[in-house]
Symmetry: C2
Subunit: 352 residues, 2 copies
DNA sequence: ACCGGCTGTCGAACCGGTTCGCGTGAAGTG
DNA sequence: CACTTCACGCGAACCGGTTCGACAGCCGGT
């Protein structure tokens, strides 16, 4: 069932059917209805490849996300889901591309074969060569996150610096003097992950300002790494009474480590960080945290990209978000020290 | 840069370039190298839309997942990630389609506009009209899950009946006599979700066989619903000493409810169910559960679909998986009853 | 020297849409 | 009634690949 078949049955030419479909030229009421009736009867829908070939637009956007290790974190999931929904609402489909590292076949296909009209980049690095690749083939892109030089880019980002600072201030205001920072895995930090770097920067700066003792750790994206990391924290500095984390996947492990060490949250130890609310509410006690507004960010990213596609010469725009800290139940005033001793720390463990 | 440009620069015809690219006809070494050099210099990649139009294959598969409510569970995330990776390994791209309910635009686009060569269906219902829609347009599909009549279908499924039975037997072997079942949300059960129905069936059957007292509950896919559900369980039957759940998103809330009620896991109360290992390991104590092999399932689904695409007349195949229960730390022998009383149950709450 | 077969390449048609320029017939105007 | 104007629909070209039939040239065999 192609457009010629419709034209034949309606007794008109193919171009007239096309104009009925697109509305780009007026068609008389009589012909339009005749054609429309045939279309409805046959349930005709135009072939996407042919249309894309003819008018140069695929009505598809690419979502590029290098996997952090072998699995995805809850936050990535939230972004993916919300981007897909926002795109669907604007009649765009979403093509998923894993990896996106150089020489990655899937990413190359997306770009070179022009399967998509534009791309949304996740998991940004401070120096992100994906932008150059996209620019070199003229594909518009919007980032979720921002590079080291975001001035003239299209992106929607989270102010990790400010959020980490806010977490430190919150803890310092509660009287905590020794605070640990649990970052994403070292491999990602080394790769230049934006959130890891900016969060670390904000944490370090605020800790210095408030004169609190601090240590920073990298931690694998899973529960057992979190547990090991916490053991290490208490081994390195038993007087630690609070931590800030960006690593939502390790959160369960951090809590387990605290429980094993006999530190009660929030009485003996406070935990906070940057985590989407639905994950913050999964742990007990519920996590006081800056809520990552994944839905809003996904929607904004799609909005920006579609705007850019519709107006190729529009000036660059971006959104920098800094959600407030939601007070839940995982932070409290610094106590006089640990209430009791749990199992003695016997030594540090690898923290991924 | 199109194929004609390459042909011109190499001094050959367009068809010869095409044959170099596809290898479908022999080309002499000299010409091949001449063409290949031009291709490499210009970094030429053939246009995906044009190719799809010409040979009728998009090299894209659709992943159809009706959202359970407004967000995705960790298990869905795992499937999506693993399907995308498995597809990428076979040089297929993945197009995501939310909803997939009737009259859904995105789903209709996938089918009618032939954006994909085939589809993988997630979140199966016992009677799933998506199959009929797909069949009516001749699109091959593979399901993750199985309908009420899976005999001649292509699918990879989890034997939820057997898994739920195994959970009950495990608990009964430990001496538990009063067991609750925490299912997916009622809305999904009513919609005919396969896992919810088969899990419930297996639970009910095994509970009857073992003569244990049981109650079954539906529970929203979030932590607060889980907490409310647990309060309700203990209100309805305070003698309950164990539960089985399919609802991974509610798990954190169930644990919180138990902690609030003063029930220690596993001393006073045992918890088990069907949950992917990486989520089972997030909670404390770690969940004894039948591990959903999401990676394997994603890979198998892609393998089946690609096989079906390559051999349109191949006989239907499927894989029914029943992973064993991984013993972790959330189940133990039934005690003599709750060790102490937590906050008194004051009444049931809505459980979503 | 002639013929048959085989290789390697070409040209043209085709996939299913979109878009542009043009022709036609009806309506409006002096 | 002749002439412009306009609305409407048609045909052809095009997007960028793939594929098939044909043909040229070379080889070896008799």
């Amino acid at each position: 069932m192609n457009i010629g078949e419709i034209a034949k049955r309606a007794g008109v030419s193919r171009s007239t059917v096309s104009y009925v479909l697109s509305g780009k030229r007026p068609v008389s009421d009589g012909t339009r209805q005749k054609i429309q009736r045939v279309i409805d009867e046959l349930g005709y829908q135009p072939n996407a490849s042919a249309r894309a070939l003819a008018n140069g637009r695929t009505n598809t956007i690419g979502l590029v996300f290098p996997p952090a290790g072998n699995h995805y974190t809850g936050m990535q999931l939230d972004f993916i889901g919300n981007v897909v929904e926002a795109a669907a609402a604007k009649d765009y489909d979403v093509l998923l591309s894993p990896s996106g590292m150089d020489s990655d076949r899937s990413f190359q296909r997306l770009l070179g074969e022009r399967r998509v009209d534009g791309a949304i980049l996740m998991e940004l690095r401070l120096q992100d060569d994906r932008f150059e690749h996209l620019n070199s083939v003229g594909l518009p892109a919007v980032a979720i996150g921002r590079t080291a030089h975001p001035e003239n880019g299209w992106w929607v980002g989270l102010d990790h610096t400010a959020l980490a600072e806010a977490c430190v201030h919150h803890l310092a205001d509660l009287g905590h003097r020794t605070i640990a920072f649990v970052n994403r895995p070292e491999q990602l930090l080394r790769a230049g992950y934006e959130s890891a770097h900016r969060g670390l920067e904000g944490f370090t700066k605020a800790a210095a300002e408030r004169g609190v003792t601090s240590r920073t750790y990298c931690c694998g994206d899973d529960a057992s790494s979190g547990q090991a990391c916490l053991e290490r924290i208490l081994y390195d500095e038993p007087a630690t009474t609070a931590l800030v984390t960006l690593n939502e996947a390790a959160l369960g492990g951090l809590y387990r480590g605290l429980a094993n060490a006999g530190r009660h949250v929030p009485r003996d130890f406070s935990v906070t960080g940057v985590v989407a609310s639905r994950w913050a509410e999964t742990v007990t006690p519920q996590l006081t945290a800056a809520d990552v507004p994944a839905e809003q960010m996904g929607r904004l990213a799609v909005d920006l990209l579609v705007e850019r596609l519709d107006h190729p010469d529009a000036p660059a725009r971006h959104h920098l978000l800094a959600p407030p800290i939601s007070l839940r139940a995982s932070t409290g005033p610094a106590g006089t020290g640990p209430a009791s001793t749990g199992p003695a720390s016997t030594g540090p463990a690898s923290t991924g």
